[in-house]
Structures are given as C-alpha cells and as structure tokens.
C-alpha cells in the first residue's frame, strides 16, 4: 500500500455540511505528522486483520453494496456513484481520522486549522461559464467571417475596381477562413480542457482514489457536473472514514468487557462515527417499536436493528442534527455497525456464560479435591495405625518378628495403601493437576527395594542392572508407584512359582533409562494387547481378581507425565509379558 502516502490535494476536500461532533469526524487531518498517519494506517490494517473472517466477508459484501449518492438535499438529482469501499478504506483521507483521538476536540481543531492552510482546489476554465465561452466562440467563428466578407464587398463597390476588388475578395475569404479556424481551435481547446479534467477526476473517484475538488466557473451544466462530482467525492471520502472508524471501533470490542459496558461503548462510538447527537441501544424488538416521525427543523431520528446471526437483540436508535442529511448509504453503514455491535454483544453474553460455567467448574474441582483429600485421610488414617501397631508388635520380640500372621497384616495394609494412592493418582492425572518433581535416583536400587516390599515368597527375582552409573530422573513417590504396579503384575500374572526378571539399560541416544520387567507367565493375549493401557482393564488370565485394574493405566500416565513412557514388548517364545518403563536418564556424573 505504498501509494498511501499523504496527498496534499486531498486536504483541500471541503468539510461536510453539518456539525462535526468530535475529532473522529474530522476529515482534514492529512497534514498531521507522518508517524500519526502511519499509526492510523496501522490501526486500519489491524482493524481489518482482527475482524473475524465472517465479519470481514460480511463487511466487504455490505461495503461494496453501499451506494454513495449526493447527500446535499439541494442537489438530489446528482448521479449516484458506487464507492468501492474496501479499496477506498485505506485511502489517505481516512487515516488521519483514525489517528484523531475520538474524544479530543482539540485535535479536531488543530486538524481544521491545518486544513484552511491547505492548497486550494483545482481550477478549471477561464473564469467565464462554459456556456458563455461556447456561445461567444461560436458567434465569433460564424459571424466574423461573414462580416469581414461583407465589409470587403462594400469596400470593393466604393472603389469600383474589379481587379482590386477581386484581390480583396480573395484576401478576405482567406483571412476569414483563417480567423474562423483559429477561433474554432481556441474554442475547442477551451471547452475540452475542463471536460477532460472532470473525466480524470471522475475516473479517480471511481477507482476509489481521493480526488481534489474541481472548480468550474459559472452556473451551467458543466459547473453543476463538477459540483456533483465534488460532492460525490466528498461523500465517498466521508463514508470511507466512517467505515474505517466503524471497523476500528468494532475491532476493539472485547467480549470480556461485559454486556453493559460494551453497549455503552457502542452508543458512544455510534455518536462518534455517525455524528449522532444521542444514541441508545435498547433491548427492544425494532418491529414492535414504531419509528419516530421526522419533523423538519428537529433532530432527525435514525435507527437500526441490533442483530447477531438471525436473532434480533435490540434496537439502536439515535438522533442526527437537523441540518444533516441521511441517505440510504448512511443507513446501510448504520445497519452494518448495528449488526457488528449485535455480534459483539452476543459474544459478550456467551463469554459471560462461559465465565460463570468456568467458575462453577473451578468450584466443583475444589470440592472434588476436598472430597478426595477427605477420602484419602479417612482411609489412610486407620491404615496408618494398623501399620504402626504391626511394626511395633513385630519389633517387640523375635517370635513376633517371625510371626507370619503379623507379616500378612503388614503386607495387606501396605497393599491397601497402595491401591488407595493409585485411585487418588488416577483422579489427579485425569484432572491434570499432577506435577511430579524431577529428582535423580539410582533406579536399580528402587527396583530392589520395591521388590523386597512386595515380599513375593516363592518367586525368583533376577535383576541385571546395566545402567553403568546412569541415574533416572523422576518423582520418587511416583516412580515407586509405577515399579510397584509393574512388579506386582509380574508376580500376579507370572504364575505361582514363577520368575521375574528385570533388566536396566540406558538408551543413550534418546537419553532414557529403560527398565524391562519380564515374567514367565502366559503373556498378554492378542485381544488384551490393544486395551491393555486403558482404565479398569484386567488381563483375561488373571487368577486372583484383586487390584483396581488401574495399575498399567496409571503407570503409563505417570511415566508420560515424567517424560518417559511405558510399552509392552513383543511376545517372545518361552517368556511371559515384558513391559519396559522408560524414564529420562542422566549419564553418570563426576565431580566436575
């Protein structure tokens, strides 16, 4: 849009009749400093860019359809010209208008001051009216030769000399012809120049550019044509400014502002953009409110339906100064504005609803949190006592320490604790509120401790720790949960006198530490493979039926949250299920 540099001629545009309500309507600000123009242009661009695609399409369709007839009541027969609005919006005359602060009369005055000093309009013609020049020239071209020839003939009769008379007659005819041609050429030039200029100006306006006003002397058709053109150009420029202001205003409507403040703002904007004296947006069906009667000499009532989609939200009604005219194109602009306001109000309504829903969800979330906390507390508190007393009992004497019954109580209370924690973890994972810490740990040691805690008597455990000093990074509590679930599964599905093998291997390329847990049970059936990691899934071959069916699901989610993964390895002959839990790994450190 490099052609959008300020054009000094544009500043010569006459202001519209009627009051300028504020700076927003100031048309003559092109001579404002360049940065402001740039800002303004940026604002227009932003406005266009920010509008929603649908709104933009709507705008283009409407703007293109806006005709711009002459609004001067004295000259209503002027030719209507269609303004190519989208092309015209960025025209220079529109920019300073955007730059003007909407509520700054001082800026408006400054702009107007500059306007008076601006270059004068283009002058066309020689100071006489087109008709006078045409008549005069025709007279001279037609009458003068006859008069000359007549004069020569009279002279010839006076001298009665045939020879002289013949020469004179020839000279007179030649002279008259020459004079006639000269006069015709002068007249032609004088007459076509203004026509050519008017043509150029009209073409510019038609192309959506700003055109300087053309001044034509006199009171004839040509002068009226030029005047009409000037008015059309001025009207087009004014509507372009209004459109730009409208776009900027609409782009600034934020649904978060709330319904009422938005409505108030839209009312103020309507006054600013359209030069209304007052404006109200009423929650009223326009069809049910009879239009106010227009009384000459009193402010002119204007109105538009505030719509969003197919629904009418209300009525925008205001008054225009009595001196102002209101044409169809103005009404179209107001309708456009009202529908944009309708969309903004509807958005604000929806936004408010969503806000309220969100607030409710947050409340519900907090209530759920509190509930889970309570459940956790109420379940774990008795378990804590059981566990503490068992521990104390078992440490009281060597016989008690060896008592299998006490050991079972301890194990089962541990199991119960684990399951409660698993349920809580799942709930947190689903709520997305689990934020694991990233601590370093030797994973082999964790595996061994977890295995010991499981106390799976009769199951052979083999661990091959090839971590070579690599440490896993994860939340110790959560890693324990994962390892417990996987090892517990391996025991559960690995058969009564099974064997559980664990291999720890760093995946240096991916920076992961892999823990593969293999049992010697029947493995995972094809049907189970697909749904293995979903919630509440237990293998078909399960024997005991205990467990929540959450182990693999929770483990996988936990590992994913910690930047790792859990996968089921392909089945191998002679081996049972093989799961690999990966955690982010840290290569061995030294002091450095």
């Amino acid at each position: 849009m490099a052609e959008q540099r300020p054009d000094p001629m544009v500043t010569g545009l006459p202001s519209e009749p009627g009051p300028i309500p504020d700076g927003a309507s100031d048309p003559d600000g092109s001579s404002a400093p360049a940065p402001r123009l740039e800002d303004a242009w940026q604002a227009v661009e932003d406005a266009i860019a920010n509008s929603q695609a649908a709104a933009r399409a709507d705008f283009v369709a409407r703007a293109e359809a806006i005709p711009a007839p002459d609004t001067d009541p004295a000259d209503t027969d002027a030719a209507a010209a269609t303004v190519n609005a989208p092309a015209a919006v960025p025209q220079p005359a529109a920019r300073p208008h955007i730059a003007s602060p909407i509520d700054s009369p001082a800026a408006a005055l400054a702009h107007r001051g500059q306007a008076t000093a601006a270059p004068s309009p283009v002058r066309v013609g020689i100071g006489l009216s087109f008709r006078a020049v045409l008549t005069g020239t025709l007279m001279i071209a037609a009458v003068a030769p006859i008069a000359v020839v007549g004069g020569v003939v009279m002279l010839a009769e006076l001298y009665s000399d045939a020879a002289v008379m013949g020469t004179l007659l020839i000279a007179a005819i030649v002279g008259a012809a020459f004079f006639g041609l000269l006069a015709a050429a002068v007249a032609g030039s004088t007459l076509t120049t203004p026509l050519r200029r008017i043509t150029v100006a009209v073409e510019r306006v038609a192309a959506g550019e700003a055109s300087p006003p053309i001044h034509v002397s006199g009171d004839d058709e040509l002068a009226r044509l030029a005047e009409s053109h000037n008015r059309i150009a001025a009207e087009a420029a004014r509507r372009n400014r209004e459109l730009a202001a409208l776009l900027v205003a609409v782009a600034g409507y934020n649904p978060a502002d709330g319904l009422d403040p938005l409505a108030v703002r839209a009312e103020t904007d309507a006054c600013g953009i359209f030069g209304l004296i007052d404006c109200l947006i009423l929650p009223q069906d326009p069809d049910e409110a009879p239009p106010e009667e227009a009384v000459p000499g009193l402010p002119l009532p204007v109105r538009a339906a505030v719509k969003a989609g197919g629904e009418t939200l209300g009525l925008l009604s205001g008054h225009l100064p009595a001196t102002r005219a209101w044409e169809r194109a103005d009404q179209d602009l107001l309708d456009l504005f009202a529908s944009e306001v309708g969309v903004a109000l509807r958005n604000a309504q929806l936004f408010g609803q969503i806000e309220r829903q969100n607030a409710r969800l947050v409340e519900l979330d907090a209530a759920k949190d509190e509930f889970l906390r309570g459940v956790s507390h109420n379940l774990q508190t008795p378990l804590t006592s059981i566990r503490a007393y068992v521990d104390q009992l078992r440490s009281s004497s060597p016989e008690a320490a060896a008592d299998r019954r006490l050991q079972i109580v301890a194990e089962q209370s541990d199991r119960l604790t684990r399951l409660v924690r698993q349920l809580l973890t799942m709930t947190r994972l689903e709520a997305g509120v689990l934020r694991p810490e990233a601590e370093v740990m030797a994973i082999g040691q964790r595996v061994r401790k977890t295995w010991e805690a499981l106390n799976a008597t009769g199951v052979v455990f083999q661990m091959h720790d090839a971590s070579r000093g690599w440490l896993a990074v994860g939340d110790p509590d959560q890693v324990d949960q994962v390892l417990w679930a996987l090892l517990d599964n391996a025991v559960k599905y690995g058969g009564r006198d099974g064997k559980v093998e664990v291999e720890i291997l760093p995946d240096e390329a991916r920076g992961l530490l892999d823990v593969t847990i293999v049992d010697h049970g029947p493995g995972v059936s094809e049907t189970d493979r697909d749904r293995l990691f979903s919630r509440f899934t237990r293998g078909e071959t399960h024997t005991s039926g205990d467990g929540t069916g959450l182990g693999l699901y929770v483990s996988r989610q936990l590992l994913l949250t910690m930047g790792g993964e859990l996968r089921l390895e392909p089945a191998q002959r002679g081996l049972g299920a093989a799961f690999t839990a990966s955690l982010p790994g840290e290569p061995p450190g030294d002091e450095g």
Binding site: D369, R373, S376, H377, L379, Q380, T381, L383, T384, S385, I386, R387, A388, Y389, D391, Q392, S413, D414, T417, R421, L424, T425, R428, V433, L434, R435, P436, E437, A438, E439, V440, M441, A442, Q445, G469, L471, V473, D475, P476, D477, Q478, E586, P588, G589, D590, E591, G592
Partner: protein, 235 residues
C-alpha cells in the same frame, strides 16, 4: 541410640492411637516426645517449652494444620515435618514448602520417618535465609519458595535441589563436602551415592547458571566438594 541427647519432638495428630504408638517408637529411639491432639493443645505445649522439631498432621479437625504451621513459624523458626495422608501430588502439599522442612505421607514407614527427622535435625545449624538471597545480577535464590530467579526468569527447584542449595547457602563462599551434601539432600533410607550429588550439581548448574559450562555461582572444589559464591559481575 544414646547420641540423640534427648532431643525433643512435639507430635501433633488427631488420631490418638497413632500418637501413642509413634510416641513409643520415638521414645525407644531416645527422643523426648510430647504429644498434642489438636491445634489448641499444640499451642499450649509450645507455650510450655519449645521442642527441637514438630511432627504435624496437615488435616486435623478444629484447626487447620497449615494455619498452625504458619502460627508456629511466625513465633519461632522451629523445624516442622508434616506427616499427613495428603500425598505429595496433592495441590495442598505445595503450600507446605514455605512452612515445612520435610514431608512424610501416611501410612509412614517408621525407619523412613526417623531418617527424615535425623536429617532435619542434622541441618539445624544451617541458617537457611528466610528472605531471598541475591547472589548476583543473574541469580537470586528464594529457597522458602523453592525457586530461583536466573537472569530475570524464575525457575522452580525440586525439594532436593532446594535442600542442597540451602546447605551451600548456609556456608556461602565455603566448600561443603560431598558427604555433607549427601546427608543434607537425601535421607539415610534413600541410600544415596556420591553420584547423586554430582549429577544433581550438574542439573542445578543447568538451572541456575546462565552458562552452565562456565559456572560463576556453583563451583566445584575438586576432591573436596562444592561451594556457592556471590558473583557481582554480570559479564
């Protein structure tokens, strides 16, 4: 276990049966134990004399454990270990960072609880700065919030990282041995190895140094340990 020199612990929990057994366990290990069943009782006990450490349940009827912890901390900088059924993943557990030195979830394993008590008591001498500690234009530590501000950006520290930096900050400019850091950062039951310290220091440098390859705050004293230093030069 005679080397405990009768250090005093106040247990605050609303479950009387737990109070009894835990008090017995701790007494057997040479601690002098007082118990309180709710907040008011806890406050009365505190008025009678300060313990070396408080073990506190976060969820108690009649008084909010968190409020009590704040109340205690506002009176004296007593170390608090929270013993609660609220697990570490709970959003509320985050609130503890400012008031609790450590956190043990219920049901607890007594050896682990005791190891954590030992660890907290062993670093009693460390004066962990309450306010933020400005170590240079590019590093400010805010250990109470487990946070550091590195070149204007806040990074979160893990509990272990925070404890390690606390131990280093308590001896600012001096070398802290790797063994000391091990005992400050990890409980005995975690069987941490020196490589834990090395790797943690490397990770800490990634977090708190602008150029981890050329550290200016967290320096290695080869063969001895690490030190945390101020660096006023922002170049």
């Amino acid at each position: 276990m005679s080397d405990h020199r009768q250090r005093r612990i106040l247990l605050v929990d609303d479950d009387p049966s737990l109070l009894v057994v835990l008090a017995e366990q701790l007494s057997d290990d040479g601690f002098e134990v007082a118990t309180a069943r709710d907040g008011q009782e806890a406050v009365r006990r505190l008025e009678a004399g300060w313990p070396d450490l408080i073990v506190l349940d976060l969820m108690m009827p009649r008084i909010d454990g968190l409020a009590l912890a704040h109340q205690i901390k506002s009176g004296a900088d007593l170390p608090i270990i929270v013993l609660s059924a609220i697990d570490t993943a709970d959003s509320k557990a985050r609130l503890l960072d400012e008031v609790a030195e450590d956190y043990v979830t219920k049901p607890y394993h007594y050896p682990e609880l005791r190891a954590r008590i030992e660890r907290v008591l062993s670093r009693l001498g460390d004066r962990i700065p309450r306010q933020s500690l400005v170590l240079g234009p590019n590093l400010t530590l805010d250990l109470r919030r487990r946070a550091a501000t590195v070149a204007g950006t806040e990074v979160q520290l893990t509990p272990t990282e925070s404890r390690l930096l606390g131990a280093l900050a308590a001896n600012l400019g001096e070398v802290v041995g790797t063994d000391t850091l091990l005992s400050r950062g990890w409980a005995e039951t975690e069987e941490a190895e020196p490589s834990y310290v090395w790797v943690s220091m490397r990770r800490l440098r990634q977090k708190i140094e602008v150029d981890p390859d050329r550290p200016v705050h967290l320096l290695t004293a080869r063969g001895l340990g690490y030190k945390l230093v101020e660096c006023r030069d922002d170049g």
